[in-house]
Subunit: 429 residues, 2 copies
Amino acid sequence: MGMAAPVKIIAVGDELLEGRTLDSNSRDIQRALGGHAVQVELVQMVPDRQDAIVQALDRTTEGDLVFMCGGLGSTPDDLTREAVAVWGGVDLPEDERAMEMIRARYRRRGRAMHPVVARQARVPAGLRPVANPVGSAPGLVGRLRGRHLILLPGFPAELNGLLPLMVAELRGSGLLPAEGRVLTYRLAQITELALVDLCRPVMDSHPGLKWSWWVTDWGVDLRVAAPGGCADDAMPQEMADALEAALGHHVFSRRDQDLAAVVQKMMLARAATCGVAESCTGGLIGGALTANPGSSGFFRGGFLVYADDAKSKLLEVGEADLAGHGAVSEPVARAMAAGCRRKLGCDYALAVSGISGPGGGTEGKPVGTTWVAVATPSALFAHCYRFPADRRRNRLLTVAAALDSLRRVLQFGDDADPWSLTAAWDFRA
Amino acid sequence: MGMAAPVKIIAVGDELLEGRTLDSNSRDIQRALGGHAVQVELVQMVPDRQDAIVQALDRTTEGDLVFMCGGLGSTPDDLTREAVAVWGGVDLPEDERAMEMIRARYRRRGRAMHPVVARQARVPAGLRPVANPVGSAPGLVGRLRGRHLILLPGFPAELNGLLPLMVAELRGSGLLPAEGRVLTYRLAQITELALVDLCRPVMDSHPGLKWSWWVTDWGVDLRVAAPGGCADDAMPQEMADALEAALGHHVFSRRDQDLAAVVQKMMLARAATCGVAESCTGGLIGGALTANPGSSGFFRGGFLVYADDAKSKLLEVGEADLAGHGAVSEPVARAMAAGCRRKLGCDYALAVSGISGPGGGTEGKPVGTTWVAVATPSALFAHCYRFPADRRRNRLLTVAAALDSLRRVLQFGDDADPWSLTAAWDFRA
């Protein structure tokens, strides 16, 4: 494979230097580049000042592939276009193609264009605009002073809308290395350490590969890469098979799909419907199940039964169970799931009731204690987790556990207890 | 007060350049410095390579205050100590004070010290160790080649354990400025451009202040800072008053509170309860209202009525309204809010029904068309928005619009139409 260009990232924005925002953009750029196959050499974060942006560009060298994000908007503190023009010693004319992209976007939305937005149509001579499928500011690409520049908006949604287009173009033009073979797995109901233990035997028997894992909202992602350009036999099929066997039912996706999208695909495939009954998550499970287009094809709705009286009022959970076992208990979780399925007339129902913290924990039911129940057309299963984190994270872990338990039932059968499978997750009560 | 030293941060670690980890350390350092009073000039992220760390140090200049985080552990890829010694042209002897700090920590925990940990006791000549209250690796501080260096471990918990000690010492030695006056406002139902327009007159009449605004999930945040160290009369009270008047009812917080926390505070203050009826948001509003500890004091629960038959089944929304006006209509939104309040027996109810996209739009009801209704103990209000973004963002904008409309009712009275106030937001149908 040909020598790949060194990649440098410049993230522009006062908010990145004043403790206001975490820089997720350079992370997203790194992932779009194939993460571990291409290690970025340098990330610079600089404030919304023309001189600071120019200095950052001066720290790049000829032949670099330079991603810049931020400062392409229409407010006075958006200075990336101007700084690039000054650094490159080129003009900053209004570009008719860019102006048309912006006009087209406003036309599609039947809205009037605020005059200052015209600033977004100015393009440093030598660069060209790329239509932004999400926001109004076009991306800008081209060569200047021996660097290949890619200018992206700082708003994450807009950046991620443009990234795939940009990266595909770079690969096409050979500026990015052909990726060696890469295996990607997304796993749920497993901890990072437990995953590493599962991988260990395969790691030891197949040296020379690059392994990385990182915690996500759904669980843990695993990536195994053959060093860029090295022959595929660095990663023989039997190695992939051994890894698959080790990871087993924890894998919910071998691509970039999130857990809600996987559940949706399975639901639509069997024309099934589902609903939710949420206590501690307050709606986050329904929110996740409706995040992807097409969710109306399977998601009917649900019940937020945060207060105890709501549990009995809306889902006819027995007062006796609530009084005798408490809201966070197996009988209540089961009654919630059954009641949700009955009242909505859906095929599957998820129910969760837990103590997210920081308050509400007791000796017998510490913070993190969470019951999850799944009602299928032919069975009703429940399981108790004990999540180890803070309120925010415990709620996310509950969403992931509920969705993945539904995924397991859809994958292994309506009568298969999703928790009878060996689980490497150690968040068990 | 004397001129403050420019601050630069160097974050070391492969995981920061391969899409694995978000760099929270430089954010934490920035916050510890007083965020907005001290704007960091440059953040560099470099991989675990000695040459890369040396190059990052070469990009600093004499007089800089340089924070470095990461690479102080005991594994072979921890190279910050070595790189600093090489860059500074100094030795890297084992430091008896550092060794004693490490031994003391192991003694306290009654554990034997693994031999490799001794690496953590090596200190570049000219720097001195600072005991780490959290981890074993001491922090290192001192002057080298005209820079004031502060070396911190990369584990966030250890870094945050050492930071306060370091910053206190820096303030004591006058290396950090006294904080200038800062005004902070969090606004909802306004766009960034509209906010800038509101600010313009005050900006023009009070030059020399630092203005910044950034989009959040709730709306837009605004910060106005008197340059660090300049006299407070750079920001006279009449200026603050004029700004307050211009921003008006869009302001939901003058501190760091999020919109859900503000609503919760108001709800608890009047011992009121609320519920939600969500269609397009699928539970995100309930999820937001239960994000903060203590939400059980006011949030009762709600209804996820994603499918039309769920709207009629759970909330008795009239079939005639659904058929005649469609699910995304004023009568349906009103019926949802009224039904939610009635069935839950709560004081206030929020209802939303919209077309988040990408599909489902029509000529008369394009993607983004969203009805929000608020039921109060004495009135029922509804309003139609037309949000301009993609599915994900349209849903977040809906959550913010709903919560802020409830906030307005709580702030201005149960009979005050939250949408009768002049609104600079241009997401109106």
